[in-house]
């Protein structure tokens, strides 16, 4: 590593915004450089004479800087190293910090010698649409050969593989007026709105406020533009109703004036506090949005206009004025308008005399006159035909244009080390367009400006096509006052100060130079996607007419920069060839984000465990302490099984399930949805919700219920108990709890508001423990000695309110396992106490906890349906619940059940499957077929919904839903899983595999 000669490209004056007293070291492609505080990576590299930054996307051409900010299409770098490494970062947007590491991307082995550049030599084989045309056939080659090779050759930077170590935040804000951009019109708007009392947020992308005022020599009131900007900012910062944000890009404009802003909080700080996020996303719901986003300079297309050292004239000026950096010492300025002359004047201030080429015949603008007054001869009617210099511009072929400016009439070779071009300006209308504004074409500036608004958005200043300072300030003060007055009605108007800037003449409508004699150099329009004039010509020749099609075929404007510098030049060229005016060609749609946003910012704090809320039962701690392996059940975390010693999952599950069948097991069922239903019409309501009858359910009894959607499909099932005359307690499956509550609320509030019923979720108010197995009665009798738990005292589907010590408890005699079983509920806070008491009392009876896997095994063996069967595609008949359907009353979804397909003779229904070899486990999701050797399409009879290892019979058992299922019982069919290449001969049996008569639950 060597230290290069430092900062040889700095201006002689020091009126910029960098701090030369603070030197910062940084590394680019392994070489160490020095810059100053206030530099960007771009300005620091340029100050050190580095223009070659990367290679272009398609042809791997050497590329440098085109711009100075968000418009930059070329100078993309891989920033930082390790887990913080970030690809595709615009060097112009990176503020320099001590120790910054950046590398070129899209080049191999190095930026100076890149193998991929062979694409450039072969460029005539890579026309627009090349990939579409070439890699279509044979089809199988795409995945194996074409795609991997193209992926390796193309692409930009490299994404890091490990999680992002930085912290990101989200913030929600409201304001009356959001002002986007702090140029003259933005500052004027913000000041006027703020002084009129509105709540204002002013957002500026750059580190410094002022926009064009930082670069233009203008006077506002009795101050320079720059002084005025900083004066306004300090006024705003002192107002309590104003939030002023720099380094903040409003990148998205969504419905109902929801804008999203991306703030770089600590990227520019060498050692940020650990409490500071790296970046922050602000959701701002603004009453009114003032779009003062300014304009972006347009390049000009000419032969080899993409060499390092060729950049926008405005960028060259900003590098000089803000960053005290010279983009070159032998400049050519090439323009079709007056603004580039201020760049010429800035060079002259540094004792550098530029060559000035102007496509126009003449101009009497004040800037032009001033340049001429300094003795500089301007070459009017001139342009650049071609350039030379492989890794950096060395010379230009400049040419005299003929009178219609379609051809060059003479050429001259001129040495140079930079070309500063200006094709005029494009208003930054992205946000207005995103907001739904129908843009209109403004002939005098040859660009689109906002027109018919759909949302509360108003463009001012250059973004509105108002290019003079007078206009910008007047619009800003006016709009800022008017919009703020909608909120405050203070009528407090701020006077617009007088301003002075050099007069300007109009631009020439010429953005593409003719080709030099006998040569066909590429004239780029879109630098980032390597789209040249010839590609647009080809697309039109091949019959693409719609600008949307030309865009997609050539990829013009489709790169990460969204065509900030290329869209209008592309449109202008299409309109010229097609001989249509630009508005007839139309324009493509802008979409968020305006500039790239890190994924980290979008995700914010919603990473890892914070991705979703986590719900835990009050007994969770005990499960953790007792070696439970957990599983996610929606947002809940539930014990899946409790392994002992070296047990595998299967061992543990079989042990837990067998222990329920033999002794007694307990399961945490707190997660079941619970809904409290109260009111005089509650029985009638349940009668309409459920398929079975509810009017005569006695107090103190529970009943199993099935509810349908209106389309007849089963929505959920569960038991509901009558606590008192008008008070019911409904349980739902864990997964459907929220949907069922919304469903009930819908029918109560929308369909049958006349029913006097209230529903309320009580899921989190009660902890529930299932106590299941032949010894469950003995266990509970020990715990509740005063209660009669016999069949007479608490029969199946009964419930009793009692106390566990001083704690109110409710015991339900219900069973999901198919065994003699109970469920005990207490208030949540006592859940852990209850669980421990049961474990304590159960030690004499061999009690063991069981998790969700054993729970499944037990219910599958019994043929009890659950989520996999009630998958929203099954009617009661399909899942063996036809007996639950009342013939006497109407209920939600009943009419659907009589539809033709639902009463078909061979309608699907639930069956059991046992593998013939009694060993092979049948994967869930397997298809059932009659002949596993039959040619495809092999008719499918049904599918396997749930599988388990039957602890009762010690062989695999599955539930399937199968066409004409009951008639298939006794047959041998095949369960096939083509994805796993599995075919298992299976015998079809009843789904009630264990205790088919249901004697155990009543024992």
């Amino acid at each position: 590593m060597r230290i290069s000669m430092s900062n040889q490209f700095r201006t002689t004056n020091s009126n910029g915004l960098i701090n030369k007293n603070k030197i910062l070291n940084f590394t680019f492609n392994g070489q160490t450089f020095q810059g100053y505080e206030g530099d960007t990576l771009a300005s620091a590299l340029i100050a050190n004479g580095v223009h070659l930054v990367g290679r272009s996307f398609k042809y791997h051409r050497p590329r440098g800087f085109l711009g100075v900010g968000v418009e930059e299409p070329n100078a993309m770098v891989q920033l930082h190293e390790g887990d913080r490494s970030e690809p595709n970062i615009m060097a112009t947007e990176v503020e320099l910090v001590e120790g910054l590491v950046a590398n070129s991307q899209n080049c191999w082995p190095s930026v100076k010698f890149d193998i991929g550049e062979i694409n450039n030599l072969l460029n005539r084989f890579f026309p627009a649409g090349f990939y579409y045309k070439t890699f279509m056939w044979p089809k199988s080659f795409w995945y194996k050969i074409y795609e991997p090779v193209i992926r390796k050759a193309a692409g930009m930077g490299i994404a890091p593989l490990n999680p992002d170590p930085d912290r990101y935040e989200h913030n929600y804000e409201h304001c009356d007026v959001l002002v986007v951009g702090s140029g003259p019109s933005g500052l004027a708007s913000a000041l006027a709105a703020a002084k009129n009392g509105a709540r204002v947020i002013l957002a500026e992308d750059k580190a410094h406020f002022g926009g064009s005022l930082l670069n233009d020599d203008v006077t506002i009131g009795n101050m320079s533009g720059r002084e005025w900007a900083s004066d306004v900012i300090s006024q705003l910062k002192n107002l309590p109703n104003v939030v002023v944000k720099n380094r903040s890009q409003v990148f998205g404009y969504y419905d109902h004036n929801m804008t999203v802003m991306f703030e770089r909080v600590s990227d520019h700080i060498e050692k940020p506090s650990q409490y500071t996020p790296r970046q922050r996303l602000h959701y701002i719901r603004a009453g009114e949005v003032i779009v003062s986003t300014g304009s972006i300079e347009r390049p000009i297309s000419f032969g080899n206009n993409d060499r390092p050292g060729i950049l926008l004239a405005s960028a060259a000026r900003e590098y000089m004025k803000v960053y005290e950096t010279l983009v070159g010492k032998k400049p050519i300025i090439f323009t079709n308008n007056d603004t580039a002359y201020s760049t010429a004047l800035e060079f002259l201030k540094n004792d550098i005399t530029p060559i000035i080429l102007d496509t126009r015949d003449n101009s009497d603008g004040e800037l032009v006159k001033e340049v001429q007054n300094q003795g500089i001869q301007i070459r009017f009617n001139s342009g650049i035909a071609n350039t030379k210099g492989h890794l950096k511009i060395k010379s230009a072929t400049i040419g005299k244009l003929d009178s219609d400016k379609e051809n060059f009439i003479s050429y001259e070779e001129v040495e140079c080390d930079c070309i500063c071009m200006s094709g005029g300006w494009t208003p930054t209308v992205h946000l207005s367009s995103q907001a739904g504004n129908k843009l209109k074409f403004k002939e005098e500036i040859d660009a689109y400006v906002p027109d018919q608004k759909r949302q509360k958005e108003t463009a001012v200043g250059a973004a509105n096509g108002s290019y003079t300072l007078d206009q910008s300030l007047a619009e800003g003060f006016q709009v800022g006052f008017e919009l703020s007055n909608k909120f405050t009605s203070n009528n407090s108007k701020t006077d617009t100060p007088m301003s002075k800037e050099p007069s300007q003449e109009s631009h020439e409508k010429l953005w593409c130079m003719p080709l030099p004699n006998g040569k066909k150099p590429k004239r780029f329009i879109d630098f980032q996607n390597d789209v040249a004039v010839s590609d647009v010509e080809l697309a039109l020749r091949e019959g693409f007419r719609s600008i949307e099609h030309v865009k997609r075929y050539t990829t013009l404007g489709m790169a990460g920069d969204q065509g900030k510098t290329s869209n209008l030049n592309g449109l202008q060229y299409v309109s010229k060839i097609e001989k249509k005016i630009v508005p007839e060609v139309g324009h493509t749609t802008f979409r968020p984000p305006y500039t790239p946003v890190t994924i980290g910012t979008i995700v914010g704090r919603e990473v890892g465990n914070h991705y979703l809320p986590t719900r835990k039962s009050p007994i969770h701690k005990w499960h953790e302490e007792n070696n439970a392996v957990f599983v996610a059940a929606g947002l809940w975390v539930r014990p899946r099984y409790y392994p002992r010693g070296n047990e595998t999952m299967n061992d543990a599950v079989n042990r837990e399930a067998a222990n329920v069948r033999k002794n007694v097991g307990i399961c945490d069922v707190t997660t079941l949805g619970k809904i409290d239903i109260k009111g005089p019409d509650a029985p009638e309501f349940l009668n309409r919700i459920y398929t079975n009858a509810w009017l005569k359910l006695p107090v103190g009894k529970a009943r199993y219920g099935v509810m349908l959607r209106e389309d007849g499909m089963v929505m959920d099932d569960g038991t509901t108990s009558r606590i008192s005359e008008n008070h019911f307690h409904m349980t739902t499956t864990t997964a459907q709890a929220a949907n069922v509550l919304s469903h009930l609320e819908y029918y109560l509030q929308v369909v049958w508001p006349e029913l006097d019923v209230n529903v309320l979720s009580t899921t989190e108010q009660f902890a529930g423990v299932a106590v299941a197995g032949p010894k469950s009665r003995e266990l509970l009798t020990k715990m509740f000695p005063s209660i009669d738990l016999s069949n007479e005292g608490l029969p199946f589907m009964g419930l009793i309110d009692t106390k566990l010590g001083d704690i109110p408890a409710r015991i339900y005699r219900i069973s999901f396992s198919g065994e003699l079983a109970y469920e005990v509920n207490v208030e949540s806070d006592y859940g852990l106490h209850l669980w421990k008491k049961i474990m304590e009392a159960g030690s004499d009876f061999g009690v063991q906890p069981y998790g969700t896997e054993a729970l499944s095994t037990l219910r599958i063996e019994m043929g009890h349906v659950a989520g996999p069967e009630l998958d929203g595609r099954t009617i009661p008949f399909d899942v063996g619940l036809n007996g639950m359907v009342s013939q006497k009353k109407d209920f939600i979804g009943k009419r659907s059940l009589s539809k033709e397909a639902f009463v078909a003779e061979d309608r699907q229904t639930i069956v059991g499957l046992v593998p013939v070899d009694k060993k092979s486990k049948i994967p869930e999701g397997s298809h059932i077929v009659e002949n596993d050797k039959a040619p495809t399409p092999n008719p499918k009879l049904g599918h396997v919904s749930s599988s388990c290892w039957s602890v009762e019979y010690n062989n695999p058992f599955s539930i399937a839903i199968m066409k004409d299922g009951k008639k298939q019982i006794g047959k041998t069919l095949f369960a096939v899983s083509p994805l796993k290449d599995i075919s298992i001969p299976v015998e079809v049996v009843s789904s009630h595999y264990v205790d088919p008569k249901g004697e155990r639950v009543r024992s």
């Binding site: 929801m258 719901r285 739904g436 209106e710 919304s742 609320e745 929308v750 508001p753 209920f891 009419r895």
Partner: protein, 90 residues
């Protein structure tokens, strides 16, 4: 993200609400005979107008009330919202 005025809670962001479909649908009366076509119309078929549309929303992460909204399906403009037992005051 839309901003929706819940008739009970005031203006809140869309992420607190769930969309509830066409607000003009009348469920057939329970127990009433209904032919298959009419039933299918009720269960499955919905108009998909471009422009003003009466629809239902549910303030799921709020007061849990269902209410009516008059919304432009093309521009997302919400003209009015009202309680289920009210009419729009437009």
């Amino acid at each position: 993200m839309l901003e929706i005025r819940c008739p009970y809670c005031g203006k809140r962001s869309q992420n607190e609400f769930s969309y509830g479909g066409d607000g003009n649908i009348k469920r057939p009366t329970l127990g009433e005979e209904i032919n298959t076509k009419d039933w299918d119309d009720f269960v499955y078929f919905r108009d998909n107008p471009r422009g003003k549309h009466t629809e239902l929303w549910h303030h799921t992460s709020g007061c849990r009330q269902w209410f009516k909204a008059s919304r432009d399906t093309a521009t997302h403009e919400i003209f009015a919202t009202c309680k289920m037992n009210e009419d729009f005051n437009e």
